[in-house]
Amino acid sequence: MTALQGGTPASPLPQAEAALPPGWRLLCRDEVDGTNATLVRWAEGRGAPFDGAPAEGVVLVADQQTAGRGRQGRDWHSPPGNLYVSVLLDGAAGPARLAEVGFVAGVALAEAVAALMPAAAPALKWPNDLLLDGRKVAGLLLETALGTDGGPWLVLGLGVNLAWAPPRGPEMAFPPGRLADAGPAPGRDALLAALVPRLAVWLAVWRHQGFAPIRAAWLERAHGLGGPIEARLGTGKRHGVFADIDPDGALVLDTETGRERLLAADIHFPDRDP
């Protein structure tokens, strides 16, 4: 197994290990191409370091990623010091509902940061970026995969800037930031130990009660609700007021010509942008 394929074991994260929900397991690697890409391969039966079928709750942390990705194939610079983690989740809810898990994870991450940094006020940028003091400090990316038995999997990937932030790129709605910019910041181990149990709890809420409580918790931390936004789509730009999110998580945009639902877009906030 080369480093690019699955990495070699790295130093453990004892707090996170101790905080794992029953049945979950934590794998730490020194370097992988991407934690999402690696977990997708493992879920699809290629190169998994464990015997038997994959199971929900495989948590893969890498010290660094050589080919970390964001939306639209953008690079996610991944030097050592930040948290790069992906979690394998049961995808049985089906593709039509799995996008809701991005909101589940966003809420869990915001709560974890709020618990560790009481003076900070983390906010969520639709659909699931984490903002701290007007800077983007974390991003999420979810991908579905198909197991060898045909079973669907969902790979949830999170990148959280703890010690390092990239320079601002032209397409970034907010300047990148680090947790450390907003006060004494947790390390990877403490953050993961706070995040994973909250993720498990919010997943259970989602599975038993549906998206409504997730949506409510997300809206409490929503950035820019009720204000003007510019949505950049692959096919153009839309301007309007960020009115709400739908019962399925779609952004509800009130434009001069009526109400629209957005399912995939980069959201910019004209008030703040240069």
Partner: protein
């Protein structure tokens, strides 16, 4: 009433036609049967003769029926935005004329940063691609025809 008296219903229906009435009710000690035909029902019966022909003709003229009903249509498994390539600027997953195998990735659909590969349910040759890059699609919307 334990069984439907088909003969009675049929006789009443014939009576309706013969008399031009729209409703007849027949009652005995044991049963009451009401047979009615409404004006909309009559026009519905008449409509297909005139309406179906143009629809069939236009489908023939276009060389196709509704793509959604095509047996080789692969449909969107979720609402979202379609991407024809793994990332902007990259070569598309598939093009018209390509031979594909079952399980091959044809598109990505994104909803709120969740990326879902759309895979071929069958092997074959791609004869039509019905969506463009960045297009929003509804659940069940046909994406591609494989024959």
């Amino acid at each position: 009433m334990t069984t439907i008296d088909h003969d009675a219903v049929r006789q009443l229906a014939e009576l309706l036609d013969d008399t031009g009435l729209t409703e007849i009710e027949y009652q005995t000690d044991e049963v009451r049967i009401r047979v009615a035909k409404s004006a909309p029902a009559v026009s519905y019966m008449a409509a297909p003769v005139g309406a179906a022909a143009p629809a069939a003709a236009s489908a023939d003229a276009a060389g196709e029926a509704d793509p959604a009903s095509h047996p080789g249509a692969i449909k969107a498994p979720m609402v979202g935005v379609v991407y024809v390539a793994p990332e902007p600027g990259a070569p598309p997953f598939v093009q018209v004329g390509d031979s594909i195998s079952k399980g091959q990735t044809l598109f990505l659909i994104e909803a709120m940063k969740t990326f879902n590969p759309v895979r071929a349910e069958v092997g074959g040759r791609i004869t039509r691609i019905l969506v463009g890059d960045g297009q929003a699609v509804e659940y069940g919307e046909p994406l591609v025809i494989v024959e």
